[in-house]
């Protein structure tokens, strides 16, 4: 089936199978910031934005993306770099494998929540697992980036 999406601001036409998942479609297209980390839809590594909302691309059928606006890390480079610098400054960049999904979720949170509390930040990020388990460093970096106590 042929689908048309707006990928990081550009119109893209893709030929997809009915049972193909968006994470695979986008990786095959060359969007390598998308990682697959669990196979059980629970780790958040494959997070992308569909119509500005964070979703698991490993759980979404590609055919369902037809006509939608998709944003990945490649489309948010300036903001991602800004936050990544804070992550590095707080010593919480770690191995980096989960970073694209994690950063996209943080950027989505920045748009959705105003002055979030620590509890709200942690809740928003429960779907992003980090195998290095450096959550405290990440939390420090997020609070610094968002300018919240």
């Amino acid at each position: 089936m042929q689908i048309e999406i707006i990928l990081n601001g550009k119109k893209v036409s893709l030929d997809v199978k009915n049972n193909e998942l968006l994470a695979d479609t986008l990786r095959n297209y060359g969007v390598f910031s998308i990682r697959k980390g669990c196979d059980t839809t629970c780790c958040g590594l494959c997070t992308i934005w569909v119509e500005e909302k964070p979703v698991l691309s490993c759980a979404m059928l590609s055919v369902r993306a037809d006509g939608k606006t998709i944003t990945t890390m490649e489309g948010l480079q300036r903001e991602a770099e800004e936050f990544a610098q804070v992550l590095v400054a707080e010593g919480s960049e770690q191995c980096g494998f989960c970073s694209p999904g994690f950063i996209l979720t943080v950027l989505a949170m920045k748009r959705e929540l105003k002055n979030p509390t620590q509890e709200e930040i942690v809740h928003y990020l429960t779907g992003n697992l980090c195998r290095c388990t450096g959550y405290l460093g990440q939390l420090r970096a997020i609070k610094k980036y968002l300018g919240v106590a």
Binding site: N19, T41, C42, T47, L56, A59, L61, L125, G127
Partner: protein, 264 residues
């Protein structure tokens, strides 16, 4: 790996139903989040996204939730956050992560009668009806007891009233599947206790609910929790044994009762 031969986005509910029942292995795919974890062979996958069923509204004495509404929308909807002590929104907030809840739909969660569903338990403690294309509008409790029959869930109705409610769950970690969940509600002196993830689908503890509705003394909360745990059946799976669930049911029901009593 699952297989989908054909993918269709019907323009009407009637069309969706007719496609669904035209072949045995045609299926409505809901949010499709669980598809990848199975090996279903679907001839025609029916997608409801073009039917305008993603909404939550407060109308004519009912809160109405469209079948294609996502769990994240349920979690953040001001209508649901401010109704029934926020029990519906609270029930979904620990389901995996926001990215997952932005995909999975209310219709799929309810129609599939998942035993681990948190949403069904919360809905069951309220005055909830569901509307199916073929079977019409029926109480949720009746639907859960019926054998599986192909149909299209269109929307959910929750009677708007002053019911106060509480949702309690037990998980190994936040965002994991529940080992057990409980929802309790109260409207004047009428109480409802629902227990889910037993691991079977949620059910109402009828005797305990009736006993509570007849007499309630705050000192006797453990007594009613015991009745609920005794009258319901529990099973064993990889998350917990039947005995453990039964023991924890008493704790969660008591906590929920205490919370409802404190609700203003």
């Amino acid at each position: 790996m699952f297989i989908i031969n054909e993918f269709i986005q019907p323009q009407t509910i009637e069309e969706a139903y007719n496609i669904l029942v035209s072949r045995r292995n045609n299926a409505v795919i809901g949010g499709s989040a669980f598809l990848r974890m199975g090996s279903k062979k679907i001839n025609t996958a029916v997608d409801l996204s073009k039917l305008g069923l993603d909404y939550i509204k407060d109308e004519d004495g009912y809160i109405e939730i469209g079948a294609y509404t996502t769990l994240r929308e349920v979690e953040t909807s001001p209508i649901l956050v401010n109704s029934f002590s926020g029990v519906i929104s609270n029930s979904v907030k620990n389901i995996i992560g926001i990215q997952f809840r932005n995909i999975v739909t209310v219709g799929a969660s309810v129609f599939s009668k998942y035993g681990f569903s948190d949403l069904i338990t919360a809905l069951l403690a309220l005055d909830t009806e569901i509307e199916l294309y073929k079977a019409g509008r029926i109480p949720l409790d009746d639907f859960l007891k019926r054998p599986f029959e192909k149909d299209v869930l269109i929307r959910i109705f929750i009677k708007k009233n002053q019911r106060r409610a509480s949702f309690q769950d037990l998980r190994n970690s936040v965002s994991d599947y529940p080992i057990l969940n409980v929802a309790v509600s109260r409207l004047d002196n009428q109480w409802t206790i629902a227990v889910g993830a037993r691991p079977r689908v949620a059910a109402i503890a009828i005797k305990a609910s009736e006993a509570l509705s007849e007499h309630l003394g705050p000192e006797n909360l453990a007594y009613y929790a015991d009745i609920a745990a005794e009258e319901l059946t529990f099973g064993t799976n990889e998350r917990g044994t039947a005995e453990y669930r039964q023991a924890m049911c008493k704790v969660l029901v008591k906590r929920a009762l205490m919370e409802v009593l404190e609700c203003k």
